[in-house]
C-alpha cells in the first residue's frame, strides 16, 4: 500500500491531504484528451489482458500454439494454389511460398488488430458497465497480443526463409533496416483505424457489418496476393495512396529484393498512420465517457 502511495505521489502529486481535488468529473469535457498518463498507470492491466488473450485463445485445442503458425501456413498454401497456380499471378520471380507468406503475416496482423479493436466497446460492454479503467487499455492489449502472434509467425517465416536463402534462391536487401518503421506503421494504422471504428459502433451498429466486408475488400486493394510491379505506372501511384501498400512492398523488398517503391510513399504512410492513431485516440477518449448510455 505504501509503495503504491509513493508511486501515486510520483505520478500524481495531488494527494487528498492537500486541499485539492484528485478527480473532477464534469459534464464539460476537453476537446482533446490523450489521457496517456492514466494509461501508463494501468500498464499492468494491459499486460495481464494481453496474457489472457494469448493464453485463453488456444486453451482446450489439440494443437494449441501450433495454430499460431498453422493458420498463416494454410492461408499461404491456399493462395499459392489459387492465385499462383490457377490464376497465375506474378510473384516478382520470388518463391511463391515466401511471397504469399510475407504478405499474409503482415496483412493478418493489420486486419486482426483492426477487426478486434473495432469491436472493443460491444465485446466489453458488460465489463465497462461495472468498473472504470481507461478504456484504451483494451485495444492496446489487443494490438499487443496480436504483435506477439506476429512475432511468432515472423520467426516461422524466417525459418522457411533461411531454407530458401541456404539454397541460394533469395537474399536480404539493405531495406531490412526499415523493418522497425514498418512495424510502427502497421501497428499504428491497425490500432488507429480500429479505435475510430469502435467509437462509431457504439452508436451506429451498422459499422460492424461493414468492417468484415471492408477489410476483405481492402486486402484485394493492397499488394498482398500480387506485386505492385504488376500494375502500370498510373495504377501504382494510385495504389501507393493506400497506407498499407508501402508496408507490404517494403517488407517484401527487404527480404525478397523485389523492386522498391519510392521512399516518399513510406514517409507518407508513416505520417498517415500516426495521424490516424492520434485522432483515433482522441475520438475514442471522447466516446468512452458516455458510451454506456448508447451501446
Amino acid at each position: 500500500m505504501e509503495k503504491r502511495e509513493e508511486e501515486e505521489k510520483k505520478i500524481n502529486p495531488i494527494m487528498p491531504d492537500n486541499n485539492r481535488w484528485t478527480t473532477i468529473i464534469s459534464a464539460k469535457q476537453k476537446a482533446i484528451r490523450l489521457n496517456l498518463k492514466e494509461i501508463y498507470r494501468y500498464k499492468d492491466l494491459i499486460l495481464l489482458l494481453t496474457r489472457r488473450d494469448i493464453v485463453a485463445m488456444y486453451k482446450q485445442t489439440i494443437l494449441g500454439p501450433v495454430w499460431f503458425v498453422l493458420q498463416p501456413l494454410l492461408t499461404t498454401i491456399t493462395f499459392t494454389l489459387i492465385f499462383g497456380k490457377i490464376a497465375k499471378l506474378s510473384t516478382d520471380n520470388t518463391p511463391p511460398i515466401l511471397f504469399y507468406l510475407s504478405g499474409v503475416i503482415v496483412w493478418n496482423y493489420f486486419s486482426e488488430t483492426l477487426i478486434k479493436t473495432s469491436n472493443t466497446f460491444i465485446a466489453n460492454a458488460n465489463l465497462f458497465g461495472k468498473v472504470y479503467f481507461p478504456r484504451l487499455v483494451v485495444p492496446l492489449s489487443i494490438s499487443l497480443s496480436n504483435l506477439l502472434t506476429f512475432f511468432v509467425q515472423f520467426v516461422f517465416f524466417l525459418i522457411i526463409y533461411l531454407y530458401y536463402a541456404y539454397r541460394g534462391n533469395v537474399s536480404p536487401g539493405y531495406y531490412i533496416i526499415y523493418i522497425p518503421v514498418l512495424l510502427i506503421i502497421m501497428s499504428a494504422l491497425g490500432l488507429g483505424m480500429g479505435v475510430i471504428i469502435s467509437a462509431l459502433t457504439t452508436k451506429y451498429r451498422d459499422m460492424r457489418f461493414l468492417i468484415t466486408f471492408g477489410v476483405q475488400l481492402f486486402m484485394f486493394l493492397s499488394p498482398v496476393v500480387y506485386p505492385l510491379s504488376s500494375m502500370n505506372q498510373q495504377a501504382q501511384k494510385l495504389m501507393l495512396l493506400n497506407p498499407m501498400a508501402p508496408v507490404l512492398e517494403f517488407f517484401k523488398c527487404a527480404f525478397l529484393q523485389t523492386p522498391a517503391p519510392p521512399l516518399y510513399s513510406l514517409v507518407y504512410s508513416l505520417f498517415f498512420s500516426i495521424l490516424t492513431l492520434l485522432s483515433g485516440i482522441i475520438i475514442f477518449n471522447k466516446v468512452e465517457k458516455n458510451f454506456m448510455d448508447t451501446v
Partner: protein, 425 residues
C-alpha cells in the same frame, strides 16, 4: 473536510430504442452547438416518473440537480425505490458514464464495487484471475502479489488456486470475487447492493468487511434496499425519488421518511391491477386484495385475531397449473415468510377468467408493527413467473391485545410466542 462534492448533477437518458433517430438528433445537436446554442433535447427531458405512462418526451432525467457532499470517514447510505436513480448516481461517481450537467469533485482513490468478479475469465486459473480482476479494479501487480495469500485465504480456495475458474462452483466464484475486491484499499469505497447476493454467511462477511473498512476511517457510499443493513452500516443518508434528491439527514430519519412515503392509506382493499412495478409474463395478473378482520373490512389487528384475505386473480388464457405464493415482509422490507398454496395442501384447479381465493390466518402472533405483502403467481415447478408484485399491500398489528400482559415494543421482536411454562423441581 469534504472528500466528495456533488454539484448540480443531472443525467439525461433517451427512452425507447437507442439508435432510432439518433443520427438526425445528432445532426440537430451539432447544428445547435456550432451556432452556440444549448442542446435542444435537454429542455424537453422530464422528471423520471416511471409509474406515469403518459410521458410525452423521449428523453428523461434519470437524475436532476443533485447536490450533496460527503465528509471524510462518513458512511453514506443512498436510499430509494427501484428506478429512483441510485445506480445511475453510483455510475457517475465511479466514472462509468459521464453526467449531462454539473460537476463531481473527489479527493482520493475511488474503488467501486458494482459487481463481484468483474472480468473473470472462465478458462484462466484462480491465480490468473486474481491478478486480472485485481488490476481491473485498479491495483498494481506488486500490490496484488503482496496480498495474494490473504485473498486466497479469505476466499477459502487455496486448494483450487491453479484450477480454471470454470470448474469452480458459483459460490466459490462469488467468494473469490469478493475476496479480491475486499483487499482493494481505496480512500473512498462505493458499494452497490449486488454485494448482497450469496448465502447468509457470505452476506455477513461482506457487512463485517465493510464495517471494518469504515472503522479505518475510509469513506463509504452504500446503496441497498435492505434497510436493516443500511441502518447497521451508515451514519448519514440521502433519499432519491424519481431522480430527485428529496431528503438528506442522519440515517434513521432518512429511513423513516422513506418508509413513511411507502406505506399505504387506511384502506383495507388494494387495487393490485393498478400496481405498477411488476414482473412476470402477465399470463395471470393479481387484480385485487381485500383484508377482513372478523368479516369486517379492516386491516388493523390485535395479537390473537384472525385475518382473512380475499385475493383476486385474472387471466385471459386457460392456465393448466398455477401456484400462488404470499410473501410476508416486515416494515423494513425484510422477508419473513414465503407462504405457498401447496403448503396448506390446496391445489388450484385449471385457471381461467377471474377467480377469488380466501386465505385465512388464524391466531395472528406478530409483534405490533406494520407488515407488508408480496404476491407471486407462476407454474407449480417455479420455472415461469406469471406475475410478481412486491410490497403492494400492508396490514397493522396494534398493541393492546387482552392476551398480552406487557408492553411489546416493535423493535424487540417479530413473532410473539407463548410456550407453556412450569417449574419442575
Amino acid at each position: 473536510m469534504h472528500v466528495i462534492e456533488v454539484e448540480n448533477i443531472s443525467k439525461l437518458y433517451k427512452l425507447g430504442q437507442v439508435g432510432t433517430g439518433s443520427l438526425s438528433h445528432d445532426i440537430n445537436r451539432w447544428w445547435h452547438k456550432i451556432r452556440g446554442k444549448e442542446d435542444p433535447y435537454l429542455k424537453i427531458g422530464q422528471v423520471n416518473k416511471r409509474d406515469d405512462n403518459t410521458m410525452a418526451s423521449d428523453y428523461v432525467w434519470a437524475l436532476k440537480d443533485i447536490n450533496f457532499s460527503v465528509k471524510e470517514g462518513e458512511v453514506l447510505g443512498i436510499i430509494g425505490r427501484n428506478g429512483a436513480g441510485k445506480s445511475t448516481l453510483l455510475k457517475l461517481l465511479s466514472k462509468i458514464t459521464a453526467p449531462t450537467t454539473g460537476e463531481i469533485r473527489i479527493k482520493g482513490r475511488v474503488g467501486a464495487l458494482l459487481e463481484v468478479g468483474t472480468g473473470f475469465h472462465p478458462e484462466l486459473t484462480g491465480r490468473e484471475n486474481i491478478f486480472l480482476n485485481g488490476s481491473i479494479l485498479g491495483m498494481t501487480k506488486s500490490e496484488i502479489k503482496s496480498k495474494f495469500d490473504e485473498i486466497v485465504d479469505f476466499a477459502g480456495v487455496a486448494k483450487y488456486v491453479d484450477t480454471p475458474v470454470k470448474r469452480y462452483s458459483s459460490g466459490m466464484i462469488v467468494r473469490l470475487g469478493f475476496a479480491v475486491a475486499a483487499h482493494l484499499e481505496p480512500e473512498i469505497l462505493i458499494v452497490d447492493e449486488v454485494l448482497a447476493v450469496g448465502d447468509a454467511d457470505f452476506q455477513e462477511k461482506c457487512i463485517n468487511k465493510m464495517n471494518s473498512v469504515s472503522k479505518q476511517g475510509r469513506t463509504v457510499l452504500f446503496v441497498s434496499h435492505n434497510m436493516t443493513s443500511v441502518m447497521q452500516l451508515c451514519s448519514r443518508g440521502i433519499l432519491l425519488e424519481n431522480g430527485l434528491l428529496t431528503y438528506q439527514n442522519d440515517i434513521r430519519s432518512v429511513i423513516d421518511t422513506y418508509l413513511k412515503k411507502n406505506t399505504f392509506g387506511a384502506e383495507s382493499s388494494f387495487d393490485l391491477a393498478a400496481f405498477n412495478s411488476r414482473t412476470g409474463s402477465g399470463r395471470i395478473k393479481f387484480t385485487k386484495l381485500e383484508i377482513f378482520n372478523q368479516h369486517k373490512p379492516d386491516k388493523n389487528f390485535l395479537i390473537g385475531d384472525d385475518m382473512i384475505l380475499h385475493l383476486t386473480l385474472e387471466s385471459k388464457y386457460e392456465i393448466p397449473g398455477v401456484a400462488i405464493a404470499i410473501q410476508l415482509y416486515d416494515r423494513n422490507e425484510q422477508i419473513l415468510s414465503n407462504i405457498e398454496n401447496i403448503d396448506s395442501d390446496f391445489i388450484i384447479p385449471p385457471f381461467y377468467g377471474t377467480k377469488t381465493f380466501e386465505i385465512s390466518f388464524k391466531n395472528l402472533n406478530f409483534y405490533p408493527n406494520t407488515y407488508k405483502f408480496g404476491f407471486w403467481a407462476g407454474t407449480p415447478d417455479g420455472s415461469e413467473t406469471y406475475d410478481y408484485i412486491k410490497f403492494c399491500a400492508d396490514f397493522n398489528i396494534l398493541s393492546g391485545s387482552a392476551r398480552v400482559k406487557r408492553n411489546l415494543r416493535p423493535e424487540k421482536g417479530i413473532v410473539y410466542i407463548t410456550p407453556s411454562w412450569k417449574q419442575i423441581n
